[in-house]
């Protein structure tokens, strides 16, 4: 199976997020980027499918954030080709913009199956995954937790519903799947293999012609939520806090 995986960079939430002077964007000088978690799962799912059914995995990413780190890790994990799409802006693209650009690159790969993370936490105008499918003119189903090869020309994908219920979907290829989680967590690859990948991997650099797409909405202000009504914080030693909580629970009738 010829599989394409789309990987994005998102702001790292471990670091404090500052708003820039314009008040309408994160301060990009201060932001660290890392791989979008669901995209990482998409890569893992692709590698698992390749391991069980053969084929190849091509990773496609926009040149943004700390993408090289992610791409070398992908190479070290077993991706066969890495395509890096030129992108010059200092702010991440909108879902529609990235869908258009990435689709152009993905189209050239002749992939039967395209995996992409079902969402990324910095998406404002909806989510990219179904838009990518529209651009590729492929059917789409998302919120997928696990997939396996089916009969030739199809895969079975498991769509997650509330209450730990899964809908088993038959997907005729070519298709795009929006991955929530792979069958297993993204594999660990030792740093030495990543460093080897750094020495031996060639990225295929690609330009795309997709025109800039203006936002369909007007972002007026970006800000931190007010520390409004927050929890009543209980302080003191562990024993003091424990005693206070037990009291509260007794008062509220949770324990009797």
């Amino acid at each position: 199976m010829n599989i394409a995986v789309v990987i994005r960079q998102v702001p790292d939430l471990i670091e404090p997020l500052e708003i820039d002077a314009s008040g309408t964007s994160l301060d990009m000088d201060e932001v660290s980027f890392l791989v979008n978690e669901t995209d990482d799962h998409a890569l893992e799912q692709a590698l698992l499918l390749k391991e069980s059914s053969g084929g190849s995995v091509t990773v496609v990413a926009l040149d943004f954030g700390e993408v090289d780190d992610t791409l070398y890790a992908a190479a070290a994990k077993g991706a066969d080709r890495i395509v890096k799409v030129a992108y010059d802006e200092d702010r991440p693209p909108s879902p529609r913009q990235s869908a258009a650009m990435l689709a152009e690159a993905v189209k050239q790969l002749g992939a039967e199956l395209v995996l992409v993370g079902v969402y990324a936490h910095d998406e404002l105008e909806g989510v990219m995954a179904p838009l990518l499918a529209l651009e590729l003119e492929m059917p789409y189903v998302g919120v997928i937790r696990g997939a396996k090869a089916g009969e030739p020309g199809s895969v079975t994908a498991f769509k997650e519903f509330p209450g730990a219920v899964m809908a088993q979907m038959n997907v005729k290829l070519p298709a795009v799947l929006g991955i929530l989680a792979a069958d297993q967590p993204p594999r660990y690859v030792p740093v030495s293999r990543i460093r080897n990948a750094m020495k031996s991997t060639e990225f295929e650099e690609q330009e795309v012609a997709a025109a800039a797409i203006a936002p369909a909405v007007k972002l007026q202000r970006m800000y931190h939520p007010e520390v409004g009504e927050r929890a009543e914080m209980l302080t003191g030693s562990e024993d003091e806090v424990a005693a206070r909580i037990a009291e509260i629970l007794l008062e509220k009738g949770v324990i009797k």
Binding site: I14, E15, P16, L34, P185, R187, Y188, V189, P190, V191, S192, R193, I194, R195, S237
Partner: protein, 400 residues
């Protein structure tokens, strides 16, 4: 003359252990017998060599016991042939396993990834590295902001920087250094993990990267020596960094302070009336032979009665936190081992001591947890030597 082709296992071992010593293993079993987790391992140290030499390298790499070594060095210490099992064989086997796609236990993966991405095993932002010093009542020289020559470049290390229980010790140490009139500096937010645990857990690539990054970092500054609270970092810097061409004068804080005992003694004004027993941590104990300086420091504190555990000095029982053990308790327990720190606190209590003194950051949380688990909470206090010194110098933190 026909040449004998060695099987891959034997070849691997002889490469890793630099030739002949490994092949001279006589299967005496000293290592397995003295390994604190040997009984629970599918392949204790002796078996690693046996299986490898018998062409069963795959079996070892697939085994969960590959991830049960806590780098206490007892095996290496006891081996009559001087085979560096803990230092070299275990990490190499793990590295090879990971190269071949075998997944280390998840908690360990997280620790590696955190170190790789954030420069500390706790996954905290590098920008918060100096939060421990937020309300510090002595002046702090952040060399990353204002470089200047110092006597000691104090590597605060991950746990003392980020972990609340250890941050207390960091502040006490800062106060002690200042009281001694030493010109000290820290690297502020530029400081990164030193990497001992990564190396011993087989992440050779990560360790190499850390050495490279740290060498570039240290070379920017002027200092007479590197001093640290963390024994694992001490081990890495004194023993492994030089292999990569990064050689610096380093000292563990216990020897550094013990050298200044004459200056310290008059400052130890407040007595601490307590029976104290000292736990010899593996990295400075068995590995570096530093047994007396910590004891000298404790004995200098008026009121302290120092008692010894039966297993002390080179016979001390490891706390189980080394070589990645901090993240491997679940894995070890799942496969029939136990938390060594649970045993160790009981050994401490048997001496009748009220205080278990330690000199390595992992031990504070490990022994405090264990004290709770085995029902010694309230009966056995765990204190770092630095805390005890600071208390006696009347410099200690005012709250708990």
């Amino acid at each position: 003359m026909a040449t004998v082709e060695r099987d891959p296992g034997t070849e691997f071992i002889s490469q890793v252990l630099d030739g002949e010593p490994a092949l001279g293993c006589m299967q005496c079993g000293m290592c397995a017998a003295s390994c604190p987790l040997g009984a629970a391992m599918e392949y204790p140290p002796r078996q690693l060599i046996l299986q490898a030499r018998s062409g069963n390298l795959d079996k070892i790499m697939d085994s969960p016991s590959l991830w049960m070594c806590v780098a206490c060095y007892t095996c290496s210490d006891r081996c009559p042939r001087g085979i560096q099992l803990a230092d070299d064989l275990w990490p190499a086997l793990r590295d090879k396993a990971m190269q071949e796609g075998i997944q280390p236990p998840t908690e360990l993966q997280d620790a590696f990834q955190n170190i790789f991405k954030y420069g500390n095993s706790l996954g905290e932002s590098a920008r918060k590295r100096l939060d421990w010093a937020k309300d510090l009542d002595v002046p702090l020289r952040d060399l990353s902001k204002e470089p200047s020559p110092v006597e000691i470049l104090w590597l605060v290390c991950d746990y003392p920087s980020y972990y609340p229980r250890n941050q207390v010790v960091a502040r006490d140490f800062a106060r002690i250094l200042t009281a001694l009139g030493i010109r000290w500096g820290v690297l502020g937010n530029k400081e990164r993990a030193i990497g001992d645990c990564d190396r011993l857990y087989g992440e050779e690539g990560l360790f190499e990267k850390l050495v490279e990054d740290n060498k570039k970092l240290f070379d920017k500054y002027q200092f007479e020596k590197l001093v640290m609270l963390d024994s694992h970092s001490y081990r890495a810097l004194s023993h492994f960094y030089p292999r990569f061409g990064a050689e610096y004068p380093v000292e563990h804080h216990t020897t550094y302070l013990a050298d200044r005992l004459e200056q310290l003694k008059p400052l130890l004004s407040k007595p601490i009336e307590a029976k104290v027993t000292y736990h010899d941590n593996c990295c400075i104990g068995r590995r570096a032979g530093i047994y007396d300086p910590p004891r000298q420091l404790l004995e200098a504190i008026p009121g302290i009665e120092l008692v010894e555990m039966e297993r002390n000095r080179d016979h001390a029982l490891c706390c189980g936190g080394g070589g990645g053990g901090m993240w491997l308790d679940s894995h070890i327990v799942e496969h029939g081992g136990q938390r060594l720190s649970d045993q160790r606190v009981q050994q401490a209590a048997e001496t009748g001591a009220e205080v278990l003194a330690v000199s390595c950051p992992f031990e504070l949380s490990r022994f405090e947890d264990s004290a709770k688990v085995v029902g010694l909470e309230g009966k056995l206090q765990v204190r770092d030597i630095v805390e005890l010194l600071a208390e006696s110098m009347d410099l200690a933190e005012k709250e708990k």
